[in-house]
C-alpha cells in the first residue's frame, strides 16, 4: 500500500474550502501595540524569537475568541503555562515530533486549525517553505513560528527581560518585565517596541505601566539555547 505523505498541492481539495473572508483574530491587549491594526491577520506568519511565552501569549488572544490552536514540533511547550496564558486545552492539539515532515503537517493543519505554533526544524527545503507560506495565505490561517522564518510578515524579538519576585533564598518568580521589538513587512515595516509583563503574576501577558520607574532591564545576550527546549 502506498503511504507516501500527500504532496502539498494535492491536499488542497481534501477539505471543503472555507467560504468568505475571515475576520482577524484579536490579541491580548498587552501585545496590541506590536501588531499592525492590533490584530493577528489571517494568512500571515509571525516569527517569535527569544521567548516561548511570547508565542503562547499570541495564541491566547485568538484562543479566547474561539480559535483552534495547534503546536507542531515543540515537545517542551509548557502546557500548564499555555493554559495560564488563556489557551483552552480542549481546543489545543499537539504534534510533538513531526521531524522532516513539519511542512506537510503544518500544511495539513492549517486546513482546519486556526492558529498553528511551529518550531521549524529538520531539513527545510526552500521550495517547501515557500509553498507552505502560500498555503497559509490561501487557507487564511495564522502561523506563529518559534525561531526564524524567512519572509515572516511580523517578527517579534525579546530585547530585554528581567524577572521580579526572587530574593536571595526567598520569594518566588512572580512576573517578568520584557521589552519586545517588532519589525516586519508591509504594514508592519515601521519598527515598534513595547514593554509588558510576560507573564504577569496571573500567568497571562499584561500591559506594563511604564511610569512605575522599575529598575532597568537586563539586556538579553544572543544565545540560542535558552529559548530552545531541545533540538527536534
Amino acid at each position: 500500500m502506498a503511504l507516501a505523505a500527500p504532496a502539498l498541492p494535492e491536499a488542497a481539495h481534501l477539505a471543503a474550502p472555507r467560504t468568505g473572508h475571515r475576520e482577524p483574530w484579536p490579541v491580548v491587549p498587552a501585545l496590541a501595540a506590536l501588531l499592525p491594526g492590533g490584530v493577528l491577520r489571517p494568512g500571515t506568519v509571525v516569527a517569535v524569537e527569544g521567548a516561548t511565552s511570547l508565542a503562547l501569549a499570541l495564541l491566547a488572544g485568538a484562543a479566547t475568541a474561539g480559535a483552534w490552536c495547534g503546536v507542531v514540533g515543540v515537545p517542551g511547550v509548557g502546557l500548564v503555562a499555555t493554559a495560564e496564558h488563556g489557551v483552552d486545552l480542549d481546543r489545543l492539539v499537539l504534534v510533538a515530533h513531526p521531524g522532516d515532515a513539519w511542512t506537510t503537517v503544518v500544511a495539513t493543519l492549517v486546513e482546519a486549525v486556526d492558529v498553528v505554533l511551529v518550531r521549524p526544524a529538520g531539513r527545510r527545503q526552500e521550495a517547501d517553505v515557500r509553498r507552505l507560506a502560500a498555503r497559509i495565505r490561501e487557507r487564511e490561517a495564522v502561523v506563529v513560528a518559534l525561531g526564524g522564518w524567512d519572509g515572516a510578515d511580523v517578527r517579534l524579538t525579546v530585547a530585554r527581560s528581567r524577572w521580579e519576585g526572587l530574593g536571595a533564598g526567598h520569594g518566588h518568580l512572580r512576573a517578568r518585565r520584557v521589552e519586545v521589538q517588532a519589525t516586519g513587512r508591509g504594514a508592519a515595516a515601521r519598527p515598534r517596541s513595547t514593554v509588558l509583563w510576560l507573564p504577569g503574576p496571573s500567568g497571562r501577558a499584561e500591559p506594563a505601566d511604564v511610569a512605575t520607574g522599575a529598575p532597568p532591564l537586563a539586556a538579553v545576550p544572543a544565545h540560542p539555547t535558552t529559548s530552545r527546549a531541545r533540538p527536534a
Binding site: L14, G78, D90
Partner: protein, 518 residues
C-alpha cells in the same frame, strides 16, 4: 411491517468475564473514577454503575478493580461468536458480550424457537462456561435484547421466547427509559407517558411531527416494529470498499494504518449517496485464501473511527490466534480487507450546533486524521489538565481520538505544587546542571533540607551564569510509603543575570534543569 425474528445472546457483565474474574469475586470496571460495570457479586454489595470508585470500595472493601479495555473484551468474545456460528449463520456482534442472529430460518430448521434457543445456550456453555449467557428470541433486536438482558433473573430460565406478534405486549410494561434516549424519556415522563405501552398507544404521525425523528424511531420500537422501515434497496456494489495489502500484513497495526483510509473512503461513499450504515460486514482474507467475515451492528450510524475499532477487534483475535475459528488461526499474512455495507438506510441528518462548533470540530478531526495517517496514530495528542505537583505532571497528553480522561483529578489540593506563573518550556528529558556557591564549591542539599551554600553561579546548557536571585529548596516527597516508587526532589527557582529564570532540582544524582521560564 413487523420486525424480523431475532435471537439475541447476552453475556452478563461481559467486561468482567472477559478479564477472567470468577463469578463469586466482587469486581467492577472503573473509568475516570466511576464504576461502569459491576458483576452480580459486587451488585449484591450495592456497587452499581455510576457509583464513584471510593464509594464503591467503601461499600465493598474486597472489590477487585478491572481496567476498561475494549480490545480485551472483543478478543475474548470471539470464541462465543464462533460457537454461535455453528448453531446459526450470520452472527452480528452488537458489542462484545452481546450479539444477534436472524432467527427465522434457523428456527424452522431446528424445529422451533425453543429448540434453537436451547442449542444456542448449549453452544456457548460448551465454548465458554464462564460466559453465563442468556438467550432470547423475539420480534426485532430491540425486544430480544431487552428480554435477554432484563426479564426474569431466574437462573433456571436461560432462554426466553417471546411468541411472534407478541413483542408489543411484552414491551408494554417497560419504562420509556430503556430506549436509551434520556432526553426523550425525561420529556415523556413529564407528559405522563411512563411506559412503552403508553408510548405505543399514541398515534404515530403525531409522535413524529411533535417529537422529531428520535421519537418516531422510539415509537416504532415500542410497537414491536423494526427501528427503521426496511428499505427495499440493496446497497449499490460500489459502496463496498476494499484494500489489498501487498506485501501481506502480519501485524494488526499495519492493517489498521491502512484501514483508516479505507474506512474514510467507505464513509465518504455512503455520505455521497445520502446513506448511513447500521450493519457492516468486515471481511479479511489471508494470502492463502483463509477468510474471516464478521457482521457488526451499531445502534446509530457507524462512523469511520468506529469501523476502524471493529476492524481492530476482529483482526486482533484472529491474527493473534486466541480465537479458535473453525479452521484455526490463519497460516499467512493478511492480503485483503473488505468493508461491505450490509444494512443501510437514508441518512436523516443531524442538526448542527448554532455556532458551528461541531462543524469546526469535524473539520479539525479530519485534518488530524490525515496527520495521523502521515506520522502514525500516536503522533497527535491533546492535553488534559490533571493533578500533580510539577509543571510537567499537571497536564497529561492523550492520543487524539482517545477519551479525554484525566488520570488524577486536577481540582484537589496538591501541596507542594509550584506557584503561578508556570514555566513556558518544560524539558521532556531533564538536562544535567551545576550549581556552585560564591567560593566555587558545589552546592548540595542536606538531610534537613537546607542548602550548604547560597547558589552564586549556575551552569545550564553548558553556559555559566551569575545568579541574581534564587528561592528554595522546595521539597516534594512523593509516595514516601512505597520504597519502589518514592521520589525525593528539592526544587529551586533561579534567576540569572541574562534575564532568564530556571527551574532546577537537586536529586540524589545531582542537579538537573527541569524547566525554563522563557
Amino acid at each position: 411491517m413487523s420486525a424480523v425474528r431475532t435471537l439475541v445472546v447476552a453475556c452478563a457483565d461481559w467486561p468482567l468475564t472477559a478479564a477472567g474474574v470468577a463469578a463469586d469475586v466482587p469486581a467492577a470496571v472503573v473509568v475516570a473514577q466511576r464504576v461502569t460495570a459491576a458483576n452480580s457479586a459486587a451488585r449484591a454489595d450495592g456497587v452499581l454503575p455510576g457509583l464513584r470508585r471510593r464509594l464503591a470500595q467503601g461499600r465493598c472493601p474486597d472489590l477487585m478493580l478491572v481496567d476498561d479495555d475494549a480490545l480485551r473484551d472483543a478478543v475474548a468474545f470471539e470464541p462465543v461468536a464462533i460457537a454461535l456460528e455453528q448453531v446459526a449463520p450470520g452472527v452480528e456482534i452488537v458489542r462484545p458480550g452481546l450479539c444477534a442472529i436472524a432467527a427465522g430460518a434457523p428456527a424452522r430448521y431446528a424445529g422451533g424457537d425453543d429448540v434453537l434457543a436451547a442449542q444456542a445456550v448449549a453452544a456457548v456453555d460448551t465454548a465458554m462456561p464462564s460466559a453465563r449467557c442468556r438467550v432470547a428470541i423475539a420480534d426485532g433486536p430491540f425486544a430480544a435484547e431487552l428480554a435477554a438482558t432484563t426479564g426474569t433473573r431466574d437462573d433456571d430460565a436461560r432462554h426466553v421466547v417471546v411468541p411472534p406478534g407478541r413483542s408489543r405486549q411484552f414491551l408494554a410494561a417497560y419504562a420509556v427509559d430503556v430506549l436509551g434516549l434520556p432526553a426523550l424519556a425525561d420529556l415523556l415522563h413529564r407528559l405522563g407517558v411512563h411506559t412503552l405501552g403508553d408510548l405505543a398507544a399514541l398515534p404515530s404521525a403525531s409522535v413524529g411531527s411533535r417529537f422529531g425523528p428520535d421519537a418516531a424511531l422510539a415509537h416504532r420500537l415500542a410497537r414491536g416494529l423494526d427501528a427503521r422501515p426496511v428499505t427495499a434497496r440493496t446497497p449499490p456494489p460500489e459502496l463496498t470498499a476494499q484494500l489489498e495489502l501487498d506485501p501481506p500484513a502480519v501485524q494488526v497495526e499495519q492493517v489498521l494504518f491502512a484501514a483508516k483510509g479505507l474506512a474514510d473512503r467507505f464513509s465518504a461513499g455512503l455520505t455521497a449517496h445520502g446513506l448511513t450504515c447500521q450493519r457492516i460486514s468486515i471481511e479479511a482474507e489471508t494470502e492463502h485464501g483463509e477468510r474471516l467475515t464478521r457482521l457488526w451492528r451499531h445502534d446509530s450510524a457507524l462512523t469511520a473511527a468506529a469501523i476502524v475499532d471493529r476492524v481492530r477487534w476482529q483482526l486482533d483475535g484472529w491474527l493473534s490466534g486466541t480465537a479458535k475459528s473453525a479452521d484455526g488461526p490463519p497460516t499467512g499474512g493478511l492480503a485483503l480487507v473488505r468493508l461491505v455495507p450490509d444494512q443501510v438506510s437514508a441518512d436523516v441528518g443531524r442538526q448542527l450546533g448554532l455556532w458551528g462548533a461541531e462543524e469546526s470540530l469535524e473539520r479539525v478531526a479530519r485534518a488530524l486524521a490525515r496527520v495521523q495517517g502521515i506520522l502514525g496514530p500516536d503522533a497527535v495528542t491533546t492535553p488534559v489538565a490533571t493533578g500533580g505537583r510539577d509543571p510537567g505532571d499537571r497536564v497529561t497528553e492523550v492520543r487524539w481520538g482517545d477519551p479525554r480522561v484525566a488520570a488524577k483529578p486536577a481540582d484537589r489540593p496538591w501541596p507542594g505544587s509550584l506557584p503561578t506563573p508556570s514555566p513556558a518550556t518544560v524539558l521532556p528529558d531533564p538536562r544535567p546542571a551545576q550549581v556552585v556557591g560564591a567560593d566555587g564549591g558545589p552546592v548540595a542539599v542536606d538531610e534537613r533540607c537546607e542548602v550548604t551554600a547560597a547558589p552564586a553561579r549556575v551552569s545550564v546548557g553548558g553556559r555559566w551564569l551569575d545568579v541574581v536571585g534564587w528561592a528554595g529548596p522546595w521539597p516534594a516527597l512523593e509516595r514516601w510509603w512505597d520504597p519502589h516508587t518514592t521520589d525525593v526532589r528539592t526544587r529551586f527557582q533561579v534567576a540569572t543575570d541574562d534575564g532568564g529564570a530556571w527551574l532546577v532540582t537537586a536529586r540524589a544524582d545531582g542537579w538537573w534543569l527541569e524547566a525554563v521560564y522563557d
